[in-house]
Each structure stands twice: as C-alpha cells, then as structure tokens.
C-alpha cells in the first residue's frame, strides 16, 4: 500500500514549519515564557524539575507540549501504519549523547527550536547559537562521511515501542491528578515553580492540543531542525531547511503582529550575552544531535513511532537536565554556570570520542535474494 504523504512534499514541510511558527508565538502569548513558546530542551528540563530530579525552583513544570509531541506522533504513526517498534542501535551511547546535548543546550539556553524562536523574537544572541548549531552539525557530517554509524536497530515488541509514549501518558496523568495549586510549591509529589519561567505556562488544554497537533504533523512531515542543516551540508538537499526557514519567517511575522518582537542583544528574556558560550553550547548540542540522528523534537516524534533508541535519547536529555542544574552546568540570564565551561570541554570530548569510536565500514550487501516482481508496485517519488 503506498498512500501519498502530502506532508512529505515541499509544500507539506513548509506548511508544517509555518504552523509551528504560528502556534509557538501564540503559546507564548497565552502564558508560556518569552521566546519559549516551544523549547524541547527547556520543557524537558522543566519536567525533570517537576518530578524532582533537580531542584532549581524556577524551572519546574510538567509541560503538556512534550507529552503531546510524543502522543500526537504516536497517533499519526498508528493511523498511517508507521508505528514500528524498533531499537537496539547503541542505546547506551544514545543516552550519553542525550545527556551531552542537553548540557550544551542549557549552556546556550535553548534547543534549536528555541534558537529559531529567540531569533524570531529579536534576540540577536540566537545568531551565535544558530551558528554554533551549524558548526556542530557540520562536524557531525564529517563523521558520517568517514563512515560513522551507531549500527543497526532491530524490530522490538509492541510493548517496547510503547514504553516512552506510556511514560509520557503517565506524566500527563500526573499533571491531571496533581494540578498546580495557587501559591503551593508542591501538589502531591509534583513540584511547581512559583516564579520564573517554570511558573509561566499556557492553559493545559491549549498546551496539550498544540503539542498533539504538532506531534501529528511533525511525524508525517519528518520535520527536523538538525536534519535541515545536515541535509544541506551533506547532500545539498534543501527539503527540511524549507521547513526550518518557514518556522523562522512565520514566527517573526507573528511575533511582530503580537508585539513580541524586541530586537537587540541586551536584556533578552531567559538569555545571556556571552557570545562565545552561546556559540560553544550549541556547537556541542548540535554535534550530539547529529551523532544521534535528530534534533530533540524529532527524537520525541520518532519515540512516538515506536523507536526506543530515540526514547533512550529523550531519557538521556531529561537526565542531563537534572545534572545540568544540580551541578551548576546550566547558564542563566546572569551568565555561565559555575562549572559550565568545564562541562563544555568534557562534553565536546565525549562527542568526539563517540564519533571516532564508531567509524566503521558497514556490511551493506543485501542478503535478500532476487525476487519475482511484486504486485502492488507503485512509484512513490
């Protein structure tokens, strides 16, 4: 069966980027933190805080957008017969890459999505972050050209494929069972912020609907901010970049329309002006995303498709967020965390080590014998 996937066309990916470009500034308008309508890294960091893995009081909230991303992608994958439980391609290495990528993102203060949204909100510091992202992905492509591979994944049981979606479902249930209470730091055993970015959030129904909707269309379109840069460098393929640019341009227009565009470098929301570290943090994150095969958003969508390797990466990011805040690796508007610089050099060394250690020549000769022509053959460009 070859159903045509309209989201896989150029128009489709541009539409998806544009929709995210509308939804993200509106989420900010309805309560999410500034230039953080959607930020996969920040939102996973807030989840880590809400479940008590770190105790940075200003960044604790069970973000329904993240759960929506995974569950929306799961629904799309089930509907279009793309739910394929798989896993076993170096899960522990992917966990470590998740940890490193989160630490890098928190040195910059944002994932690639937020880097785009920060730029669309007028934050000039995001230019350094995006340049760093490009540099990191570029280093990643050099490894791929030399034969870098984390090896093959294999088919898993449906239960295994459902593990991360079920974890997200559980977190969503906790958000409903223990909702934030006026003036209370805790609801049940869930932590909530009373001030700071963690205390800024859009209404539950809006956040969840936005997450589910974006999860659905992003699964169909394979939207990926890291892939956008990677494919351009590696194959001169502009497809995913069209979605990336659509997000930037549309978010910029919507921000201007909503009065959320404040150009400059100084006093930008949840940002610092350390140019080198904005660049370096995203370089480290970008390299980790490239080596793991997807930006943090894409990892969530692939988790929804039953890819447990991507799920392990997501868990690595949440664990990395806990380390980043417990150990003083994360930046803040005041500047670099106490051990942020050390974390960068260690993290970069870890990425390069993983890159060099996994250069191998894969055996790709097909083991499948020649077959009689199959029925039901349609060309799908």
């Amino acid at each position: 069966m070859t159903r045509r996937n309209i989201f896989a066309t150029l128009g489709g990916i541009v539409a998806v980027g544009a929709i995210i470009g509308v939804v993200a500034p509106y989420l900010q308008n309805l309560g999410n933190p500034a230039n953080m309508g959607i930020c996969v890294a920040c939102m996973e960091r807030d989840i880590a805080g809400a479940i008590g893995l770190h105790r940075a009081g200003v960044v604790q909230y069970l973000r329904p957008e993240i759960m929506g991303f995974v569950l929306g992608a799961l629904v799309a994958a089930l509907l279009f017969r793309e739910f394929k439980p798989s896993g076993g391609s170096a899960p522990m290495t992917r966990f470590v890459l998740g940890v490193v990528s989160m630490i890098g993102a928190l040195i910059f203060l944002g994932c690639p999505w937020r880097a785009i949204l920060r730029l669309a909100g007028g934050d000039g510091n995001a230019i350094l972050g995006l340049a760093g992202l490009g540099a990191g992905v570029w280093i990643g492509t050099m490894f791929f050209r030399k034969g870098y591979s984390l090896g093959r994944s294999y088919r898993q049981t449906i239960a295994t494929g459902l593990m991360l979606p079920l974890i997200m479902f559980g977190l969503l249930a906790l958000r409903l069972i223990f909702p934030p209470l006026e003036g209370a730091e805790k609801s049940g055993f869930i932590f909530y912020s009373l001030q700071g970015p963690g205390a800024a959030y859009a209404p539950l129904a809006v956040s969840l609907a936005a997450g589910l909707g974006i999860g659905f269309i992003a699964q169909r379109s394979r939207f990926c901010t890291m892939g956008a840069i990677r494919d351009l460098i590696l194959f001169k393929q502009f497809h995913l970049m069209a979605g990336f640019l659509a997000l930037l341009i549309v978010a910029l227009i919507v921000n201007i329309a909503l009065g959320q565009f404040n150009p400059g470098f100084e006093a930008q929301p949840v940002a610092h002006t350390l140019h080198f570290w904005n660049f370096a943090g995203m370089l480290m994150a970008g390299l980790a995303f490239a080596l793991a095969g997807g930006c943090p958003g894409r990892q969530l969508f692939m988790s929804g498709e039953g890819n447990s390797d991507a799920g392990v990466f997501v868990m690595g990011m949440i664990f990395g967020a806990a380390l980043a805040h417990n150990w003083g690796l994360a930046s803040s508007p005041a500047g670099l965390g106490e051990y942020g610089a050390v974390a960068f050099f260690v993290g970069l060394a870890v990425c390069l080590g993983i890159g060099f250690a996994n250069l191998k020549k894969l055996k790709v000769e097909s083991p499948v014998p020649d077959l009689a022509p199959l029925k039901n053959s349609k060309i799908k460009a």
Binding site: M1, T2, N5, A8, F80, E82, K84, S86, S89, F144, R145, S149, L150, G151, R152, S153, Y154, R155, R222, G227, R230, D231, L234, F235, K236, Q237, H239, G293, G294, E305, D309, L362, V364, E365, S366, P367, V368, D370, L371, L374, N376, S377, K378, I379, K380, A381
Partner: protein
C-alpha cells in the same frame, strides 16, 4: 546487474549516504535499496531523483521497503 544495498535498521542519514555512495561509484545502471521505514523510503527516493536517477519501483516487502532506482 542490479547493485544491492541493505540499509534496513539504519537511521537517517545513512540510507541516503549509502545510496549516494553507490550512485557515485557503481557501474551498474540499477540500484536496489532495502529500508525499513517510510521516512527513509521518502528520503532515498528524493535523493535519487536529485542525482538524476529515477525511482523505477517502490514496494512493500513484508515489514520493509524495496526501492529500485535506475539511471536515466
């Protein structure tokens, strides 16, 4: 002769990279690529077309996909 590539279980961008490598080096006029997910099927087909090859056929093969591309 058909040059065969087994890219099943490999994450992006590897199926495309392997296909491009074979497109550059092979003397065969047809390449058959096996992938195990729809995204790779789309990416490999798209890449082949940008290299001036055409997707001759694209079949489901159990849980996998078989893409046959030909030099135009």
């Amino acid at each position: 002769m058909i040059h065969k590539v087994d890219a099943r279980g490999l994450a992006c961008p590897q199926p495309v990279l392997l296909t491009m490598e074979v497109i550059r080096s092979t003397s065969d006029s047809a390449i058959e690529i096996l992938v195990d997910n729809e995204a790779s099927r789309e990416n490999v087909s798209r890449a082949a077309v940008t290299q001036g090859w055409k997707v001759d056929r694209s079949d489901e093969l159990g849980e996998d996909f078989r893409i046959l591309i030909k030099k135009t």
